[in-house]
Every structure is written in structure tokens, then in C-alpha cells.
């Protein structure tokens, strides 16, 4: 892959990949690092794609897989979870017209599915392909995430019974 092609894809999809990674890791530094790793892999392996959309899907899938690896790592267990427990959030999450603070209280997989479904507008089938899960698993996860989010909305007073 040429540097020019790499730059073009980075310009198109870097933010999407970062958001997917952030949804999973809830940590800005890790998300940035994982995004870099995904593009690094794209650049160094020279993988070719028929369409840009397929390249984007590959990048997101690679980033999510790396997120999963990270969560299993010792460093993550020793440090990142502590940051999460301390409620570390970026300032942008706190805007009043944003569900982000509540979304970030959900489990990583739930956050990720919500992001891909509502923001990236992937279908359940496409998300299943990206995550390596069954369609029904994604469907259930999406449903549960929405249910949990609703509970949080009620708890926070955003939603009336």
C-alpha cells in the first residue's frame, strides 16, 4: 500500500475506528493506540480491498479484536480497570444533550454494538460479521443494551415511567 493510499484511508476512517475502539476501551490513550495499530497493520500487511467500505470494516474488526486482546492483558487488569472504576471520562462525554455518559456505563460489548448500529448504521448482520458473533447474539446484545440504557435514563431522571 502506498503512503498516499494509506493517508486517504486514514482521512476517511480514522475517526470511525477510533470511536469503535474508544467505545470498547473507554480509554482515550488505548483507543488511539489501537487505532494506530489497526492502520499500522493495514499499511504493513499491504492488504487490498475491493471497496473502501470493506477496508473500513476490516479496520474496525482489527481494532475490536485488539481491544479484546487488551482487555485480557495483565496491564489492563491492573491499571485500566482502575481508571474505569474511578469514572474517568473525557470532557466531551458530559454534554447535556449527549447519552455518552450513560452509554459508557454499559458493558464494552454493548457500547460497541450500539455504536456500530446507531452511528455507523451497520445492520445486525454486518455487525455480526464484524464482531465474529451470531446474528442473534448481536440482536440480543443490542436489545439488552437498549434496555439497560433505558433503565439508566430512568434512574438519571431523563425518562419518565
Amino acid at each position: 500500500m502506498t503512503e498516499q493510499e494509506f493517508s486517504r484511508l486514514a482521512g476517511l476512517y480514522r475517526t470511525s475506528v477510533y470511536r469503535a475502539a474508544y467505545c470498547y476501551t473507554k480509554n482515550s490513550a488505548d483507543a488511539e493506540d489501537i487505532t494506530q495499530e489497526a492502520f499500522f497493520k493495514l499499511f504493513t500487511t499491504g492488504t487490498e480491498f475491493e471497496t473502501d467500505e470493506k477496508a473500513k470494516a476490516w479496520l474496525i474488526r482489527t481494532a475490536i479484536n485488539r481491544c479484546k486482546d487488551l482487555r485480557k492483558s495483565l496491564r489492563y487488569r491492573l491499571t485500566v480497570q482502575e481508571e474505569e472504576a474511578a469514572g474517568a471520562v473525557c470532557s466531551d462525554e458530559k454534554a447535556e444533550d449527549s447519552l455518552l455518559p450513560l452509554i459508557m456505563k454499559l458493558k464494552p460489548k454493548s457500547r460497541c454494538v450500539l455504536y456500530m448500529y446507531y452511528y455507523e448504521e451497520y445492520s445486525v448482520k454486518e455487525i455480526a460479521g464484524l464482531l465474529g458473533e451470531k446474528k442473534t447474539t448481536v440482536t440480543t446484545r443490542l436489545l439488552r443494551a437498549r434496555k439497560q440504557l433505558k433503565e439508566l435514563l430512568i434512574k438519571e431522571g431523563y425518562y419518565e415511567l
Partner: protein
Amino acid sequence: MNYKKLFKTSFSRIIPPTDIDSFERSVLERTEKMEKRKVNRFKKPLVAVAAAAAALALGVTGAAAAGLIDFGEIFGGHIKTDEGYSANELLTCGQDISWRVSDEDYAIEVKGIAGSERDVLVSFEIVRKDGKPVSDFMQKLPEDGILESMDCCGNLYDGKERTYSIKDVKSYTWSPEIRLTDEGNISVYDHITAEEPISGYLVQHSGTSFYPKKDMDDFRRMEVEADIDRFEERVADDGTTYLVSDAPPSKSLSLDYDSILSLRLDWSIEFVYNPSEASLASKSISDEVKTVSIGLVSIDKETEDKEYFTQDCTVTESHFSCTGGNIMLAFDCSDEAYVHLNTQSGANPTALITADGREIPAYIQPIYGEHDGTTVYQMNEIRYSESIIEDLTVVDIREVTGIKINGVIYPLE
């Protein structure tokens, strides 16, 4: 505000911390560093092999390929699906098994039990006595003819009350996995791990109320893609909560609720775990082996820069039994960096080596680490599977002669 718009707005607030130019520069710098590192690596001894935790991606085939444990194979066909169970000589356990199902239409077929002194693997199937597939009484999606009930099984299993009781053993965990068999029945595979030995103890595994109606409702909701604000929560007769939407039900699902509700059943399995000699056999890495070459990753605490490298680590403890093992490694770590096992994929997967030369895939997973000055002592779990999420393989550890880590075979005794 429309919820979909609100989701969009919310996620759009996640902004990368660096600008695009810095990002591209960082990736390109990584590429350059990698090239330099490649050159440096070739100058060092013992570097001919890639990262050990490479171990983790197996492409290896062999006797222990991925897939649900074939208990039939393990137990040589000595499987009884009625009142009792007897295993073959390899992994004798689970004698005096009894099971109970309250629903007259359903039965539990115990497919097999195996384990070591701390692990028990149980596999059983929920079947209908009339021989019809359980899935026929669940959900099908007529539009494409694909059976979609497997995840429902998972849901109803998750949703029901279930317990394990291991007499006199204080701390244990279990990880259930639900599958739909080719015959359309519910296959349950459980792995119980106890911190203390469970040999000879009574293990009771019970669950109540397979109650899929809620799941069917949920799936109906999903079919119409109702927004979250159209849901309301209701409480079922059994006290569980479920979501209801005012959206019209999907025509693509034709559900016979009476049939589905008939799947409700209470069940339990009790067995005395009496492991055989083979089950209790264990081996360790030979005392003559002082170090193993293993892939590590160092993460700078300040910059979070990572460096992947291979290092000789001191083996302070190791233990291998028929269902898994562990290995305690000690390695140096500067105060400026975190160092831990490299769990990324690589070219040299870990594997057990048998006397006849077979390779059984294994997976190394860090459990915890302790600092002692500049040395890290890290306990790593070794599972006989392709990855942490794959099924486990039961092996006769007496036939295993070594373990291959990072391309090097270390003898087991």
C-alpha cells in the same frame, strides 16, 4: 429528540485526541521502528522464533481440533443416557450420576464428565422424550429458513435460576456454554473450576424454569426495530421483567406460544466426582529447564510506547493435568514500564507434544502478576485449546512428553 439522532450526536462527541497529520506520522514512525527492530532482532540469539504468546493463535490441527469436546470419543462410547453413567478407564469419574426433570416431555442426557482434581467438565443435552427436536418448540425464522433458536437457548439458560453445589468446596467458578445440536436439541457444556480440590465430592448442578417466552417477545420487538422509547417494562407472573413495545408484531414470526411455554422445565444433575488415576496424573516442566523463551510486551508508563520482544524467563513453578495447567514465570521489569506476556497472535503456537509426536493446541493466559523489586512473577494459566474462548480438550497427560513454547520444546516429567 429522536433517539437515533441522540445516539448519533452522542457518539459524534468521541473525538480522537490527535490531529490527522500527527496520527499518520505516528503510524509511519511505527513502521520505521518495526523495520529497525527487525534488523536488531536478527543480531540477537534465540530470536529466530516469533513471539511466544504467539502461542495463542493456533493454526495447528491434529487430534485436538477446535469444536465441542467429543465426550463420546473420550469415553469410548461408554455413555449411558439413562439412570447412570460409567466412564472408561481413561477418565473415570461421575459415577452415581442421577438426574431429575420435572417436565414429563423433556429429559436430560448426560453426554460425559471429565476433569482433574480442580476442574470438572460436564456435557449434557436437553432432549424431548418423543424424539422431536427441542428446537421445533422454539423459534424459526420462516423468511430465510434459518434456525435462530440457539441464542434463545443461551438467553433462557442465562435467564433461569441455576446453581452449582460442590460440597465443602468454598470457592468455584463455572462457565456454561449453550449450543444447538445438529439434531436440534439444547447442548449444555459446563466447565467448573474450584480453588480447592473437588475430588470425591458431590457436585450438584441444577436449574429451573426454562422459560423462553420473554425471549420470543424480545425477538419480536427486534423484528420491528422499535425505538427504545417505545418500550415499556412489564413484570411477568414469575417475577421476571420483560419489555413490551406498542409496535405491531412482526408477521415474519409465527409463534405457537403454548408449545413454547411447554418447554418450561425444572432439572438437576447430581454426581459424585471420583476421578481416576489418569485424571489425577500431573506433570511439570523438567527441573533441568531453568528458563523458557517467551514473548513479552513492554509498555512504557509515560509514553505508553510498546515494545515486543522475546526473553528467557525463569520457571519458578509449573503444573499440567488432564484439563489444563499453569506456569509461573519470573522476568525483569523496569519501574518505567509494564511488562507482561504478549498475548497477540504470532507464528509459533503453543502446543503439548505427545509421545507419538502429535501436537495438542494450548493457550497461555496471564492470570496475575506480582512485583518484587524489579522482577515480575507472573502466573499463567495454560488451557488445552486454541484460544481462551475455544472449547477445552481433555488429554491424558501421561502421554504428553513436552510442551512447545515459542518454537522450543521443553520436556515434561
